[in-house]
Symmetry: C2
Subunit: 382 residues, 2 copies
């Protein structure tokens, strides 16, 4: 049976907003960003009590454009399935904020931006950024737009990592942290896949050691390969089997060399599309940031200690067929929260769609997420 959150409507046309921080910002690395801008979107209305704000954090390939349509959009924002009137993150009840993170390539300050010190694009000189830096810049924006405390910080994958970091770094500014298809840190296998993706970009002769923009080139082949690899790891073997199987697009398998399977053509298309909308230096920066995320490092590598000073409630959701951030990785978080004596609700959702499940409708997923937000809504003033 469908979830009652299956048939929400769209937030409609949205217009990104922009916030400029003119003061220098010290990153976790010690490097200084002389100034920076954040692009963000909001959906819904902030209550006068300012207690219904929800921060949605994006993952590797996402942006501030989580829901609704821009004037020139062919398809809606990346989490439009979940955000809107009557949807799990119900914009009739919540004021939703989604921020493009620094280091990215969708409008906030990143490697493709102009370095005010040189007048040239930062390119590979853009400093290293961490999840902590993202969370701290998001907190600065929240302060700027008058949100002292979020009813919830929510995200899938790398977005969930930001929600976790919020709970750790700003315990009194988050009421609920919602971690979907997340992990407390990447595994060696995760790092290995990221390494190969980065190596493919580095190997592209158009990469020019990151100076491609200044030289009028772009490592689209390397970025395409990186995305193809990422894409395979976001899907499950089963989902790829159902969608493509061994269907042949062209050629004869007895003639080997000229055959092309549907799955190959699909992957190539996905990689190609991605390479046209993403920046290679951002891809390098963000996969590295993913590798390095490990909040327990500051706490003697003890996740229980790490989470014991948090004050929010947690919702942790994972998906059976997700082998990139498997349910066991969510279990580690849940177990640590339980041992830390922190309140946590968790659900493992039966879904065939691999890591991508967190973006897609499935009845129990939407029911769990939607009901959780409904309960939160009842706690908010109106």
């Amino acid at each position: 049976m469908d979830s009652r959150f299956a048939n929400g409507s769209s937030v409609g046309t949205v217009v990104p907003q922009r916030w400029k921080f003119a003061a220098p910002f010290k990153l976790q690395s010690g490097d200084i960003l002389p100034s920076f801008e954040l692009v963000y979107e909001t959906y819904g209305e902030l209550h006068s009590g300012r207690d219904n704000a929800v921060l949605v954090c994006h993952a590797l390939s996402g942006s501030h454009h989580a829901a609704g349509l821009h004037a020139d959009d062919e398809s809606p924002g990346w989490w439009d399935s979940c955000i809107g009137p009557g949807k799990p993150i119900d914009t009739d009840k919540f004021f939703v904020v989604c921020v493009n993170n620094i280091g990215g390539c969708h409008g906030s300050t990143g490697p493709a931006s102009t370095n005010p010190r040189t007048g040239e694009p930062y390119g590979p000189e853009f400093p290293s950024v961490t999840v902590k830096d993202w969370v701290h810049t998001q907190a600065m924006l929240a302060h700027g737009i008058g949100i002292r405390r979020f009813a919830a910080v929510v995200g899938g994958s790398l977005g969930g990592m930001q929600a976790m970091q919020w709970a750790i770094d700003f315990p009194d500014r988050v009421e609920h942290a919602i971690l979907v298809a997340c992990a407390a840190k990447l595994s060696a296998q995760n790092i290995a896949f990221n390494k190969i993706a980065r190596s493919a970009i580095h190997a592209d002769p158009c990469f020019e050691q990151g100076q491609y923009k200044a030289r009028g080139r772009f490592p689209s082949v390397g970025l395409r390969l990186a995305r193809m690899l990422g894409h395979v790891t976001y899907l499950s073997d089963g989902a790829m089997g159902s969608k493509f199987g061994r269907e042949i697009k062209q050629g004869d398998p007895e003639q080997g060399a000229d055959v092309e399977f549907q799955v190959e053509s699909y992957l190539h298309y996905q990689g190609e599309r991605f390479s046209k909308r993403f920046d290679a230096n951002s891809y390098l920066l963000i996969t590295r940031l993913l590798d390095c995320f490990d909040p327990a490092r500051e706490f003697g590598d003890d996740l229980v200690v790490t989470l014991s000073e948090t004050l929010c409630r947690f919702l942790v959701i994972s998906f059976t067929s997700d082998w990139r951030f498997a349910p066991e990785r969510s279990d580690e978080i849940v177990d640590a929260l339980v041992r830390a004596g922190r309140p946590v609700t968790s659900a493992v959702i039966d879904s065939p769609h691999g890591h991508d499940s967190f973006l897609l409708y499935s009845p129990r997923y939407f029911e769990v997420l939607g009901e959780y937000f409904q309960r939160m809504a009842r706690d908010c003033s109106s």
Copy 2:
């Protein structure tokens, strides 16, 4: 407790042999190889009754050098763990043959060989080859060296596919087919990984559309990437976690860009090493051959029908942590054999080493394989 097959000895120094087939050979594609050579090794003694011959089939990166040492070897052949006096494939009892397949790059005719029609290396002009072609050329060699019937044809991964094809194409020339970490065909996910590996080779500017040898170049970066990706899929998440975890080789994770995890360095090293010993055109050819392997295609896509005319006994072994050729893929073969009324023994071995498990010692694996061969030995004359 260790298997009694754990402590066998080495076959010692071995010398490859070579067999030349001067007559044109028609491949499954219809293309003609004007002539070809096969390099092979043998271990143990052929009984006068010629009933103790075992054919070992190699996988993607293997060769004819399965056991023992060449004069200049630093490490022994690729399946030295399993082949030798007192080992599971006991060379005191069996006469073992291992053939480098055509299209490869270890001495048998392949893309790097000279095309007798042009006097130049075949390069990308080398015709497409199938598992069927491999098996038929192996059968020609067997005939040449006086083996009418193999006591067993055995292989892991792509080697197991050859054993399966033997059982189908030469039912009266195989007594036992032993399929280890095998599948009846690749899944969409498997094909996707191969596609990315091939794309990495194609993207290397030194690839020169396969004509690199003639132009004095070599796409080592592309081949390195391809191997790095393959390598990750041969290991399990757990095994990589135990071996490397998040151990850092150099740099500070708070300084992102300069950090290098041990697993990255290891993968780079493995890729580099492989790119020095393998030919890129062979890699393309063999991954394509893997994609196209699907013996049921000839039999209306019905694996039960495909296997129902086989006459041998089957042993099918898989490994719990192998996600490239998961136990479920072996189950498909076992189930089809059962439904076809063919005799099959099967074992799923608990091993943390992923697809690579088939190359490594583990007590139950060696016990199952060793005991199976011992029973076979009792059936052979002496």
